[in-house]
Amino acid sequence: MPTSTNAGGLFGIHGAALELRSQRLGLLTSNIANAATPGFKARDLDFRAALDARLGGASADRATQSATLFRVPVMPSLDGNTVELATEQAAFAENAVAYSASLSFVRGKVESLTRALKGE
């Protein structure tokens, strides 16, 4: 099933990366939202594994599911919650920057294509 987000498509690796970064954004937001929920286990995406799976032809859902792991807390808390805000916020910031980077690669691709079409 060749789609524009697969390795051979228009956006190459950046389309797939953008998709997975957006999934990871959701996971990290869920962790931050559940910072005070007793017994909540924080999850994160192993980005490299997810990207490899996605480029290997797995669907976005399957790639995300197979690479979602539980976070190991530095110091477990008494109520069983494994969210550590410092870790989550750092990961969130890193992910947002990486999302912007992927987005600008995609944008560059679009711009050069537009230029080619217009014949400028």
Partner: protein, 134 residues
């Protein structure tokens, strides 16, 4: 079971849950020092308990208030014979509210509310940039 959750739903629900927590802390603080004529009538501090809710369709977890419970701390008995509420022994029962604990609860809740607003605005900005492609 409605539509799959998105980031905005997760953030809104988390903020509502924190609001319940802040309201409970405010009620407890407002009732600190209130007295009653018997141990049963005395005010017991409110405690909201959160639970997480996983939306399998989108893989996101949101927060819900699993319940608001009354703390089982024992009211403090004070000897105040002049108090019109006092019983035959001249005793009144005061609400067992720990003001410092409630203030800490309030601050923590406010911090987590802010975190959610921050995460939401970052996500919104990224989404808008993707929409405009600029």
């Amino acid at each position: 079971m409605g539509a799959p959750l998105n980031l905005f739903d997760v953030a809104t629900r988390a903020m509502s849950a924190q609001l319940v927590r802040m309201n409970a802390a405010a009620s407890n603080l407002a009732n600190a020092g209130s007295v009653a004529g018997s141990a049963d009538e005395a005010y017991r501090p409110l405690r909201p308990v959160f639970g997480s809710e996983l939306d399998a369709a989108s893989g996101l977890s949101t927060v819900r208030v699993a319940g608001v419970y009354r703390s089982d701390a024992a009211p403090v008995r004070l000897h105040e014979p002049d108090n019109p509420l006092a019983d035959a022994n001249g005793d009144v029962w005061s609400a067992p509210v720990d003001e410092s604990a409630e203030m800490v609860e309030m601050m923590e809740s406010a911090r987590q509310y802010q975190n959610m607003v921050e995460a939401l605005s970052t996500a919104k900005q990224l989404m808008l940039e993707t929409m405009r492609m600029k």
